[in-house]
């Protein structure tokens, strides 16, 4: 087998260059069609995400396309100069390519270690290539193994357990630990920052339905409320809205606190001691930090959430050795299977090559011994079989031993010549 990956990623290529090389879903299909014409008989999968563009190529033939050829292919497709593209590309071959794919699928090579989207993106790239008829037995084997390995890493390590973005930590590590359900909770959004929108997205995934938006700019509040199927309130209604809220996301651009401790004391008297989660994502903070000292108020600033993210990142990093060990183990296993698959036909031909003379000699002997009964005939047949197996055992054992570390081309050639094995 010859397999390689050629591409660029966030590790060594700027975002500007990655943007120029990226493929939309339609372009991916088009590029794969084009690939079949340019490199007939070479299986390919094209993986294009915001952090990487990679072409995985494999063939049973003697050679795969070179880095320059693939660089030219990419450059031509995007209308760029080949030299401009090739200098950004890296290449991994055979075992290194397999290990790279396993690492990518398991999110060990991602910009955010353990981010879950990459597995779906790898799966999608493989599906598209299969639909476009660009995959064959090699790509099926390696991509199916990659998906299995990624699932194994996910189940045997805590790599994916910890959230590392502020909105996801706010929801998974704090909101969900306070509230059992969100469909009956009042969510109040103060301001209209990007982070608020992202947090709202996570909350809606958890079932949040009752959303109120308060903004100094009422049309802006209406716009955001319309997008999130909530209701907009004028700025004057902030304190009554706080009284009714269970969860607050605040991201105003105010220069100081918009809710002081005294103002909140008035709000608290109308809340009947209901718990309140406040995600104060504004800088400077929108809520007086003293408010967080109240027993039923859980107040988190952007710094608190970022600190939690950092802790989670450190926890993920601790999982890296275990995940890497799984990748190495699975790569070795996969390569051994592949090598074994390569020597399989030779073993088969060797066996068949010995089978014919054995049968001929056996038949000749049995013809000369007509007085031999069935039981003795079976014994003679078994004896011949054992003899052939014993004679074949040393070369086959050597072949298997040699194939653990790679395709033993020299030995295969020697066997083919010694035993005159033909395709």
């Amino acid at each position: 087998m010859l397999m390689q990956v050629v591409g660029c990623s966030h590790h060594g290529t700027s975002l500007a260059m990655r943007e120029r090389l990226t493929f939309t879903p339609e372009q991916t299909r088009e590029a794969l069609d084009h690939w079949r014409r340019v490199f007939p008989g070479v299986e390919a999968v094209l993986l294009s995400t915001c952090n990487r563009v990679e072409i995985y190529a494999a063939t049973e033939r003697e050679s795969t396309p070179t880095l320059d050829q693939i660089g030219k292919f990419l450059a031509r497709f995007h209308g760029l100069a080949p030299a401009e593209v090739v200098e950004h590309l890296y290449q991994h071959n055979d075992e290194a390519a397999v290990q790279h794919l396993f690492s990518v699928a398991a999110s060990l090579d991602s910009m955010v270690l353990g981010e879950p989207q990459i597995l779906a993106q790898v799966k999608q790239a493989y599906q598209v290539a299969t639909e476009q008829d660009n995959t064959g037995p090699l790509m099926h084997a390696v991509f199916q193994a990659a998906l299995r390995v990624a699932r194994r890493v996910a189940s045997e390590t805590n790599l994916h357990q910890r959230r590392v973005s502020v909105p996801s930590v706010a929801v998974a590590d704090f909101a969900r630990q306070i509230f059992e359900r969100f469909d009956d909770k009042e969510t109040l959004v103060i301001g209209a920052g990007e982070m608020a929108e992202e947090t709202l997205r996570y909350l809606q995934e958890e079932g949040a339905r009752r959303i109120t938006v308060v903004n100094r700019n009422f049309p802006r509040a209406e716009e955001l409320a319309g997008r999130w199927r909530g209701r907009a309130l004028a700025w004057e209604n902030l304190l009554p809205a706080l009284t009714a809220a269970d969860l607050v996301i605040s991201t105003t651009g105010a220069e100081g606190a918009i809710v002081t401790a005294d103002q909140f004391a008035a709000v608290a008297s109308g809340r009947s001691a209901r718990p309140l989660l406040i995600l104060d994502l504004a800088v400077p903070r929108d809520f007086d930090p003293v408010i967080g000292d109240r027993p039923d108020v859980y107040l988190y600033s952007i710094d608190d959430l970022q600190e939690a993210c950092q802790r989670n990142r450190s926890e993920r990093d601790k999982e890296l050795p275990a995940a890497t060990h799984i990748i190495e183990q699975e790569t070795a296993r996969f390569m051994a299977e592949m090598y074994h698959r390569t020597i399989g036909p030779v073993i088969e031909r060797l066996r068949l090559g010995w089978q014919k003379p054995k049968e001929e000699e056996l038949q000749r002997l049995l013809n000369k011994l007509p007085q031999v009964d069935d039981h003795a005939r079976d014994e003679i047949r078994r004896s011949f079989d054992r003899l052939v197996n014993k004679l074949l055992h040393p070369p086959l054992e050597s072949l298997r031993d040699e194939s653990r570390d790679g395709v033993p081309r020299g030995l295969l050639d020697a066997l083919a010549r010694l035993f005159q094995l033909k395709d």
Binding site: V169, A172, D173, F174, Q177, E180, P275, Y300, E307, R311
Partner: protein
């Protein structure tokens, strides 16, 4: 059929299940939840068989001894644990509930007398109501206690702004608060029913001119104390809104647990006639075996409820 089952069988199963729950704190494992449930389930089967055997072979009212009472309470607590473990497999309920289960079994084995009560048919129904309601009140108090502990642990984590621990993932505050308040209400209702049925039993004994239990008996007094405490907690929560705050409810359940321990201690350590005992020196204690007919020496024909 189940004669070979002893308390050691199911205690060991629950012990292994607890060890598996503890191992959550050390490492991650895919099949651990199923194995833990398997051990706890096997323990429950053995536990059930043991109680069934006791009910069949005991002289007098079935499962009426103090030892049986503890074993039945631990059985119900295991059912609650299995229910919660199936519904919330990622939450280590066993870490909190299984020690209580083992504590109840240990008390049953080493401290609680095993003489059953021989009740008259007229008082058997009331005796059963009395026993079952007190068992359910006990389990409610214990579940409330565990939920209270978890609540305070969760509040502490959230107030310290720490991300949730993967290995010790606690339920949400909302769920814990709901469980706490329901546990208090249920334990109050069950204990109220237990106290009421106990009074009826005592009146039946009075009518039948059997020996009555004194209202000053330590078990009776401590039960009343727990009942009034729970009743006050429920009324306080209903009338005074700040008392509904999660952490206050959690403290109420912790205090209820202390009253409950006091009640059990009164029954085990003080000179009480509640379980039909006259002299504590004659009790069949700590043997771990079911009493035989020869062992059975009823102190009076009627029950001695609180």
């Amino acid at each position: 059929m189940f004669c070979g089952v002893s308390t050691i069988c199911f205690s060991a199963s629950y012990g292994v299940a607890l060890a598996l729950e503890l191992s959550r704190l050390l490492f991650r494992s895919g099949g651990r939840a199923a194995v833990t449930l398997g051990f706890a389930g096997a323990g429950l089967v053995a536990h059930t068989a043991f109680l069934y055997n006791r009910a069949l072979t005991e002289v007098g009212a079935s499962l009426s001894s103090e030892r049986d009472w503890y074993l039945v309470a631990s059985w119900v607590l295991v059912v609650v644990y299995l229910h919660l473990a199936v519904l919330h497999p990622k939450t280590p309920f066993g870490l909190f509930l299984l020690p209580l289960v083992l504590g109840l079994i240990g008390t049953a084995t080493f401290l609680a007398p095993s003489e059953p009560l021989a009740r008259e048919p007229a008082s058997r129904i009331w005796g059963a109501i009395h026993g079952i309601s007190i068992v359910l009140a006990t389990v409610s108090v214990l579940v409330g206690f565990v939920a209270g502990l978890m609540y305070l642990g969760q509040v502490r984590r959230l107030k310290h702004k720490r991300p949730s621990a993967n290995r010790l993932r606690l339920p949400s505050l909302e769920w814990l608060r709901w469980t706490n308040s329901r546990a208090i209400i249920l334990s109050t209702l069950m204990l109220g029913l237990g106290v009421l049925s106990g009074m009826v039993l005592n009146l039946i004994n009075f009518r039948d001119k059997a020996e009555r239990l004194s209202w000053n008996d330590p078990v009776v007094l401590s039960t009343w104390l727990l009942f009034f405490w729970l009743l006050a907690a429920v009324i306080l929560s209903a009338v005074y809104r700040p008392a509904r705050q999660g952490h206050k409810v959690a403290y109420l359940t912790l205090a209820s647990f202390l009253f409950f321990v006091l009640m059990l201690a009164a029954g085990l350590l003080m000179d009480s006639r509640h379980w039909g005992r006259v002299e504590r020196g004659n009790e069949n204690r700590g043997t771990g075996s079911a009493p035989t007919r020869a062992d059975f020496r009823p102190s009076s024909p009627g029950g001695r409820p609180c």
